[in-house]
Symmetry: D2
Subunit: 329 residues, 4 copies
């Protein structure tokens, strides 16, 4: 249960000077995510001063360089899966941490310049992830249209609005992008999966770990010593042994060789929870490398379910008992 009037969690206080960047241009779902996040921390007025960047990489570079305080990028789509560019870019930068997450329902429209009819659409521009999510609608309604890849859904809309020699007549994008760039909506809710959601993360530099709220997530990347099935098993057992639920598991190739993977993992709990601290230390011991990307409040504010043997009290009792053994045993 959260207070309807948003109070920013400790460590996330936003001042008038806090600067934000996002994967743009204006009109992307990422901008919508940023808007929702600012709303939740009581800083909706910072949206206009936020800076759009052309790529996920550019957002993260700007955070790393200190040009902006916080950057918003997509990390996971309920239909298409992990956003590889974001996962890989985070892995490649040692000083970036996730401070918050935002869930945004994804609904697509088909937009075109005013006056365009559906019948006249012979090609459609969009980002390949969006295209993948409207294939069914396209096959049913525009079977002859061919696909033109673009850098983002908003870029498809922006170009359609501004450029004259385009090879496509309609864009698949968010309604916000259609509005932003003065396009007309030919069809709405054209996504094949009505419950599609994209998860975005708010990223900053080091030193701002949010306080534990009881409803937190932690994100890490695990690399195993060698690539045998048992290695992953041994690492996953560390979570199971302490009753910790994973909420996301993505394999990412390390690039070293075919079959060499790292595992990008979200799990319930905060670095300051005893079960999480011990799990992280165990992983540090058995994995080749553990990259910690931060602990932060869950977007859905759902408290972690903790079995009695994994509660902070249980860990504290065990430590007291051990100390007693040292002196009285």
């Amino acid at each position: 249960m959260r207070d309807p009037r948003p109070t920013p969690p400790e460590g996330q206080q936003v001042s008038n000077e806090t600067t934000y960047g996002y994967f743009g241009p204006r009109g992307t779902f990422t901008q919508a995510a940023l808007a929702a996040h600012l709303e939740s921390v009581g800083a909706a007025d910072r949206l206009d001063a936020s800076v759009p960047f052309a790529t996920v990489t550019a957002v993260l570079d700007a955070v790393q360089a200190g040009e902006i305080d916080l950057g918003v990028v997509p990390i996971e789509n309920s239909v298409e899966g992990g956003v590889s560019a974001t996962l890989d870019a985070l892995n490649a930068r040692d000083e970036l941490y996730i401070r918050a997450e935002v869930l945004v329902p994804i609904t697509f429209v088909l937009a075109a310049r005013p006056g365009t009819t559906l019948e006249s659409v012979r090609a459609v521009g969009s980002h390949s992830h969006a295209w993948a999510q409207v294939r069914g609608w396209m096959e049913a309604n525009l079977p002859a249209a061919h696909y033109v890849p673009t850098l983002s859904t908003a870029a498809a809309a922006e170009d359609l609005s501004g450029l004259d020699d385009l090879t496509y007549q309609a864009a698949v994008c968010a309604r916000m992008a259609a509005d932003t760039f003065g396009l007309e909506v030919l069809a709405s809710d054209i996504g094949d999966n009505a419950s599609a959601v994209t998860r975005f993360v708010v990223v900053s530099g080091p030193g701002h770990l949010p306080a534990a709220t009881g409803a937190d997530k932690t994100t890490i990347m695990l690399f195993q010593h060698d690539d045998h099935a048992g290695g992953l098993l041994e690492m996953l057992e560390q979570f199971a042994a302490r009753g910790i639920n994973m909420t996301r598991l993505e394999s990412r190739p390390t690039g070293a060789a075919m079959g060499s993977y790292g595992f990008s993992i979200d799990f319930e709990g905060h670095l300051d929870d005893a079960r999480v601290a011990e799990t992280l230390m165990s992983l540090h011991r058995v994995a080749a490398r553990v990259r910690f990307f931060g602990s932060y409040p869950r977007a859905d504010a759902r408290p972690a379910e903790v079995v009695p043997s994994a509660s902070d009290e249980s860990f504290a009792d065990a430590r007291d008992w051990l100390e007693q053994l040292r002196t009285q045993g």
Copy 2:
């Protein structure tokens, strides 16, 4: 060690009428994979009669419809990871099976119309996966060039060769594509990872399971009953309990909800190996669903390492012993 003169494995005999399709256009790495496969089964002369398709989906549809006997598509890149389009398209079709795999080293060139200088390149077209693999070179050598996404690397080259109003002046593609479409190579070996390899699979309809060779792989997709950490653990333990090495593990969202995954897995061994048969049956019992994509010879012909307790002999001994217990126990 394989005979240098290729003998097609049982079940893969290629007749003069066998028809092939691939993810085209001509000049893609997929066509190179098909060429290597045909060479290995002694049917190099079938290359010219093979049909390029515009998308991975189109190749698989053609196999499913019986328009072609075998289709070649990329499934995994050592740098970028699983090819989502292929994994998802295979999952969506019940009657397709993998019959062989091909590994192709990936080396990129920067190609342009004859007479173009590197300095005059302001934009570069390519598939987003290829672009991801040359980012380092681009930043060092063409930092100002912007990226234009295309449907494939070969499409970038083909369009560059044939269309006049393009928004890019150079393409990142395979040398074969540059040659095919009459482009000049401005720079070669521009991939950031010199050992990049892409894995392709040869797909057919049902009823052609290749015989076991002792150096085989099996590909499956696993769906768990509910999305708890323990569920994946329980499934992975089935492999570990029988000494089976996994060679690829990819999570793919099921689309049902955020955090709902299936796992695309390659592992060592063949359906006809006792340890594999029992593992598959166990997974069938504990998983919500197991989709079997076939057992096929490994491209590198490396025999599986089998611990004594997981050998066919050990399974046969155990069965004999059990039968004895039934009558003499």
Copy 3:
């Protein structure tokens, strides 16, 4: 729920010629167990023809030699644990199998020759296992009495009745023994644990495996290849992986070296249950040796709880699916 009128399970038909032996002398709890067993199989009239033997070993030798058809021996006490002599004697004989189990509540009396007073008892004879179970009563009521070990509780009573130069004046034994040998009961229900139960097994030679009833137990002895913690873990995981409950786990030294153990195990289910068959075969593969001691109906007739994924149907479905893959995959 079992029919109140006992019908002998298939494979346990008792004819007029079936001969029984038991760990005697008359009056032991083992004779009581035999009586209960004969009652349950509708052959109460065979009790008188049954033969007492002086030791557990002698009973088992007689079965092995074919002198008797079935022998009854204690195998486990709820207070004292496994009866080592029985476990070790069964292990040492390859051709003996457990066909039934009997549970007998254990209540002890203190018995003496008629006329003896409690005050005059300075020493008490009994089997060491019985002595262990009445220590509390003895300390409270006869603190000065010292203990004289005997071969069995009934032997203590029999000797007390028949021999004159005994070093003890009272015996701890079953009421049946006091009655049998004409002793007077000085105190009854003197056991420290009111719910003490001893489990007895009915043993025969090979070839009489009882049919599965749905409420069965199986007894085995496991020997690991080498004595590391992981070895036992790997064996126990075979049970857990198929949802099989263990009801007894006893470690027994192999005698080879300090720290070299075998594990005597009872678990729910019957050799003819698919989950049990596969577990036994798995153990056969990973253990150094598995000794099967039989599957037999549970004394308490409680049906095994079987998770859906471990049911016979689930195993049959998995096999059908696999067969389909072989031809249609």
Copy 4:
């Protein structure tokens, strides 16, 4: 490798006033164990002042009551297994701890009053554990002799020497007992297992935890919350997860009900080793109860093998890393 000149480990300094008790009478293997232990701590002169007790329980009661400082009792026999009386008596007393272990090779002799011939032996007295270890020899050499149970092997010898109306003519005991009580050895080395060894422990009250030596053992008793196979598995996984070898595992009934067990366990390592401390705390969290019986130097001085991920350094590194995350993450 140990220094030939024994130096008492820290925490085990023996003064002139330190008093010892043992499971007697004189002449038992336990006295031999005490002699070996005193030798190893440079206090051989304390043997004469040591007190024999009639039972294991009496030794432990005397330690608990402070009548003696240290007590020596058998805990495990390589042929017969755990000494139930000792395990159960330790479990029943909260304030007793194991401070050292001693291994004594067990060789039996058949002893009788001077002048007795082998042929005249019609009955043999001994403790039932000893009798179990000479059965083979007896069957081969004295097949007609029957067995008379006694309280200990030394008691059999002592009684044979001192009492006139005995029911046996020879005793199975240690050579030391035969010598002590003036008996003649009719046969020696009559044990069926030439490598039989018994392990004894030196027990004291609280507050004397020996320092870690790098070659230590720890003894605990584990009780699970409920008696499912998974419960034991979960507890054993705590050891395996930290690379800890168990050297003894004994199940002991709790007495509460048939099938309710505790597990008496010895494992490698010392309370002050990081991997042991974390394992103990984990067990404390998941088990119903953990009883710690002490950490003490191994009799064979063999250093524990520790995998790199379980070393004290690895634990310290992991803690440092976690602390860094708290401030810099």
